[in-house]
């Protein structure tokens, strides 16, 4: 599995297809986050923006390898494991990107509530931001897994479905990502730092289920 992860990571890195979502994320943050803004608001925005980026990274990882090359790897390790490696590499990349963004945003933001009256402890805010970011990375991975090969193959269906699902996962009540982000935003109003463990657990559960379904389908769908 380590060799497989190393191969998939090298494939992603060397293909340079990670660059567009990376730039998009930086642009998102450049527009939405400015120094001196309330820390929890900015962290909520940072986490929410990561969800479509994670989904896009999954799309890159699952489409990066030409089908014939994927078959060679699938014969060696089994198609389910080959696909699992794709998803894990995408998730890890999104998590690393989100962690870096969260740390930067925490450092440049104002450690205060939305009305700048109550002080917000920075380490606790950073921890809450990291948990929310991870929840969004997980849910974005689930969205990407469910809207790309092996479930949807043609880009004409996969891309709109992925964008719509990513948008809905951020805004619809009941989604773990929405719960994590709104937890940060409402926490910012009162100046209390939330601990979004429940949304994280929910996101992990959804992602595990999506991963299991898509990995099981890899050997049943046409390449």
């Amino acid at each position: 599995m380590t060799a497989l992860l190393r191969y998939q990571a090298a494939l992603l890195l060397r293909s340079q297809r990670w660059l567009p979502p990376f730039i998009l994320y930086v642009a998102f943050l450049g527009i939405g986050v400015q120094g001196g803004q309330p820390v929890l608001d900015s962290l909520g925005y940072t986490a929410a923006a990561l969800l479509p980026v994670a989904a896009w990274l999954v799309r890159i990882c699952t489409t990066n390898e030409p089908p014939a090359a994927r078959s060679c790897v699938a014969a060696a390790v089994g198609p389910a494991r080959a696909h699992l490696a794709c998803l894990l590499v995408a998730l890890t990349t999104a998590a690393v990107l989100g962690t870096a963004a969260t740390l930067v945003v925490t450092l440049i933001s104002d450690p205060a509530s939305a009305d700048h009256r109550t002080r917000v402890p920075l380490p606790a805010a950073a921890a809450a931001g990291l948990l929310a970011t991870l929840a969004c990375a997980l849910l974005g991975t689930a969205v990407g897994a469910l809207t790309n090969w092996p479930l949807l193959r043609s880009p004409g269906r996969a891309v709109p479905a992925m964008l719509l699902a990513a948008l809905l996962s951020v805004v619809v009540t009941g989604s773990p990502a929405q719960a994590a982000v709104s937890g940060l935003v409402t926490g910012s109003r009162s100046g209390t730092v939330p601990v979004p463990l429940l949304p994280l657990a929910g996101a992990a559960l959804v992602t595990a289920a999506a991963t299991a379904v898509t990995c099981a389908l890899t050997s049943r769908r046409s390449p």
Partner: protein
Amino acid sequence: MRSDLRLNNVGRRYGIHGPWILRGVDLELAPGTLTRVDGPNGTGKSTLLRVLARIDAPTEGKITGRPRTAYVPERFPQALPFTAEAYLTHLGTVHGLSRAAAPRAAAGWLARFGADAYARTPMTRLSKGSSQKVAVAQALLAEPELLVLDEAWTGLDEGARAELERAVAERTAAGGAVVFVDHDPRRLAGAPDATYTVTDGTLNLRTDKPTSPSGPQVSLDVQGPPGGQLPAEASQFLTSSTEPTPGTYRLTVPASYSDVLLRALLTARPPWHVVSLSLRTDPTLDPLDDESPR
């Protein structure tokens, strides 16, 4: 412990209401056997090989056994962001080699197929034939227990085609199972243990196997120890063997198996002595001895 791959009444179709591509396939691939699959285009040969390599799961029926498998697709993509060497090193470790052994195996196989000059060339700049060499090398790197070749010879130059035949001979001699599809009837002629034809999604064993093998043969005159028995690895691949005088044998093998036979004879304890060796390209001109090899 090697495991046989066994297909039991296997069927495969894409989609819930798609047409059956394969139906009612029973097949067993034992270690050390060479299996050929024939059939016209679009009859399900590639699907069968994908099921055998366990890339595709059967829609119905059962498949048992999980040998370490390597697969060569009929067309290998150039769109990979690696050099040939880097790709093969990655695939070597994916196939289970250590990080130290993978680059050595990669260099060795590239050299065997005459592609060592392209080791540091990006895959995107390789010709079709060169990238097919990479695909073949990828499969042979880690000495798989099951080698699945889907028209792997297509696009290879003459030297590489012969080398791949010898590599297949080595693999079966070492106890691996090999299954291949190829449209050239002379491919490994006389060597397969079984030939199947896929027609309309069903698999039929070809029983009209010609009694005298076609394709180039190598015949060897060898002397063995008095009362000696041919090594088992050697006798496995013979198309014929006669004993003109006691202790002297004339052995015939498909040309791609000559190295395997020589290695078996020369490394036997006590070793055999090779007196002469000759290549016969057209066996019909030189009727083979009728003594059955197996």
